[in-house]
């Protein structure tokens, strides 16, 4: 085949471009889940929150013509849905994992139900930032078309890492998440901190959903999310509750998603189901790797129910 080296170059470009394009929902959901888990709770319902955010954001953009308003509404819808999780989990002897699964199913079901009228219309998309102007190659230009939400997500990851480490509320959040007794002794309202943590996580996940529906792939239908919300929860464990590592892990997952299509377009078609399964395979492999019995889960909040 002629031009093989050009093809390999373009696979690389496609994987990098794909990593940037596909990673944003993972990034937002994993940052949200990091906040929630740092407060000592697991919200497995973020897949439902993501889908709900995607639907409400798309619907808002269709109705008002304002994609950024859609992002805001998506965040608020996610926050509201997560508030349900937080309030239910504040009740005594409620298992947050079980509530999360219920919320997952409820959120997707509600979004499918309310989203029926919005499958057909087209919504305006969020604008790009063109960072590839310096290159003559249209491939590079397209790969470096970056969405504002990706940039916001990156800044948010840095900010969150800093805030968790050095600010007062970061410390409070970590205390509540690490030891209920200590937090109680210090006089913090545990339920309130956790409620706020869960709601903030839901807001970010909702925004992550709006990226799916308003930018990439930029549509609303019932197959829109292929489990990004669930994988992002697994990704948090792999990233050891560290926002910066969440960013890298999201890029990795995005690149894995882009690998299959990129290889097929240059004519490598063997085992495409395997490439297609790459993100899921990666989730499994990373979880197995990070759950080795010889190492403790460093960085894991002490009160998170998977550690108790």
């Amino acid at each position: 085949m002629e031009g093989t080296d050009i093809s390999w170059w373009s696979v690389l470009i496609a994987v990098i471009g794909g990593a940037i394009r596909v990673s944003t929902p993972y990034l937002f959901v994993s940052l949200g889940e990091t906040i929630t888990e740092k407060s000592g709770r697991v919200n497995l319902g973020l897949e439902g929150v993501l889908v709900m955010g995607a639907m409400s954001g798309y619907a808002t953009a269709v109705l008002t013509g304002e994609p950024w308003l859609g992002v805001l509404v998506a965040g608020c819808a996610g926050a509201l849905l997560s508030l349900v999780h937080a309030l239910v989990c504040n009740l005594p002897r409620v298992n947050d994992i079980a509530v999360g699964i219920a919320l997952f199913i409820f959120g997707t079901g509600l979004a499918f139900f309310l989203g029926k009228p919005f499958i057909n219309p087209s919504a305006p998309r969020l604008p790009d930032i063109d960072l590839g102007w310096w290159s003559a190659s249209p491939q590079v230009q397209s790969a470096l078309k970056i969405n504002m939400l990706f940039v916001i997500g990156f800044v948010l990851a840095l900010g969150l890492a800093w805030a968790l480490k050095t600010t007062r509320w970061g410390l409070v959040l970590r205390t509540v998440g690490d030891s209920e007794e200590a937090a109680q002794a210090l006089g913090y309202n545990i339920a309130r901190v956790r409620t706020l943590g869960t709601v903030a996580g839901g807001f970010l996940s909702g925004v992550g959903g709006s990226y799916l529906s308003l930018y990439y792939p930029g549509t609303w239908n019932e197959g829109l999310s292929s489990g990004q919300g669930l994988m992002a929860v697994a990704l948090v464990i792999f990233a050891r509750w560290d926002p910066i590592r969440c960013f890298y892990a999201s890029l990795l997952f995005g690149g894995a998603t882009a690998l299959g299509p990129a290889l097929q377009t240059v004519g490598i078609t063997a085992n495409y189901y395997l490439y297609g399964a790459a993100p899921y395979f990666l989730t499994l492999a990373l979880l197995i790797y990070s759950s080795s019995p010889k190492r403790a889960l460093e960085g894991a909040p002490g009160e998170v129910s998977i550690n108790r």
């Binding site: 596909v22 057909n120 087209s122 239908n221 197959g223 292929s226 377009t265």
Partner: protein
């Protein structure tokens, strides 16, 4: 489990066996009594307004619902698993459906199984893979969309500047091969140098992967994209945003790409109306119905503004060729993309040669993938 949950499932569990046993005895009187008011069930694999596959069936469902005395019940998002059998059961036993339209390819085995269980119910399947020995109350019908893809290919071949076009397929099934071959052969009929990159996504519906695939193909230099997935909406919109041409599939997508839309390959499932009418009237019906433009079972979308008049004329002339049966899709000399000779010079495959088309598991020469 509380008492309030005695819904369809429990009802089915308890009554299923009894009704099945009674079905054979009660079939004939039940059939006559049901004729005044026939309930028809439509089962979709996704949402019915998806700008794609399911929407093309929903259009047919609306035509069926317009028949006097026919009520349509529908269920969306039914996966291709044992789930569809439960849905069929509840449509038959709770809604009294007498005709079931199973509108996804993977329902086939379930439809055959249920057809044996409910011999007085008519089942239709869109794969048109019915063969002698399968239950008589099953109909397979399907349009030869490869003919419509051939026409899209002509437009693509005329409009492409790079000489490379892209085809996105969902699953490696015979009709995906045929559609792709039609697309490529159409393009090569106007420009023998045309090549095509093919990507199989492995899913009927996976918007992220479809967008990613569309971007990858464009990065490879393909400047006309057609997507054979359940809803080509994402692919069409992505290609439009990247400034390349697209062709639609399933239903009319021209509104999604005002600049780059060429034309599209569409179904005409309205033949389903004939089956219901024949069944209601007690007439006979064919078990297998296939056809292309000649039998009015496929169509093409309205041309986009980008397509100049001489290209439109060329496409419409080819369409007339299919209608008159003067234009054959597969004719020799024909090689596949691995160099195997498929047809010798002078060999011609009839457009209605379904057995040949069912056996197609190769891409024509000039295709990468």
């Amino acid at each position: 489990m509380t008492k309030s949950l005695i819904s369809r499932r429990n009802f089915l569990r308890q009554s299923g066996g009894m009704v099945t046993a009674g079905a054979a005895l009660g079939a004939l009187p039940g059939l006559v009594a049901a004729m005044d008011n026939v309930t028809v069930g439509f089962i979709y694999v996704g949402p019915r307004q998806d700008y794609g596959w399911n929407q093309s069936h929903w259009d047919a469902a609306k035509k069926v619902a317009a028949i006097d005395g026919v009520t349509v019940v529908e269920q969306e998002n039914v996966p291709e698993t044992a789930e569809v059998e439960k849905v069929i059961q509840s449509m038959i036993e709770l809604d009294g459906a007498r005709v079931i339209f199973g509108t996804s390819f993977g329902y086939w085995d379930s439809l055959k199984k249920m057809a044996l269980q409910y011999p007085d119910v008519l089942f239709t399947h869109i794969g048109a893979i019915w063969k002698e020995g399968d239950p008589a109350n099953v109909i397979g019908y399907r349009g030869y969309t490869e003919e419509a893809h051939y026409l899209c290919g002509i437009a693509a071949g005329r409009m492409s500047k790079t000489g490379k076009i892209g085809f996105i397929g969902s699953k490696p099934l015979y009709f995906i091969y045929n559609n792709c071959n039609g697309f490529v052969l159409g393009a090569q009929s106007v420009n023998p140098e045309m090549t095509c990159n093919v990507v199989i996504t492995g899913d009927w519906n996976n918007p992220v992967k479809e967008a990613e695939t569309t971007n990858s193909l464009i990065d490879q230099g393909c400047d006309v994209i057609i997507a054979n997935v359940d809803s080509p909406k994402v692919s069409v919109e992505t290609a439009e945003a990247r400034g390349v041409y697209t062709c639609g599939y399933h239903s009319d997508l021209s509104a999604l790409a005002p600049n780059g839309f060429l034309t599209g390959a569409e179904w005409n499932w309205a033949s389903g109306v004939e089956f219901v009418e024949a069944f209601v009237a007690g007439d006979s019906y064919p078990n297998l119905k296939r056809g292309g433009f000649k039998e009015d079972m496929v169509a093409i979308s309205p041309f986009g503004d980008a397509v100049p008049q001489e290209v439109r004329d060329e496409v419409l002339a080819a369409k007339q060729g299919f209608i008159d049966d003067t234009l054959k899709l597969y004719k020799g000399p024909l090689e596949d993309n691995k160099g195997n000779v498929i047809l010798e010079e002078g060999e011609v495959i009839e457009n209605t040669d379904t057995p040949f088309k069912l056996g197609v598991d190769w891409f024509v020469k000039g295709t990468t993938g």
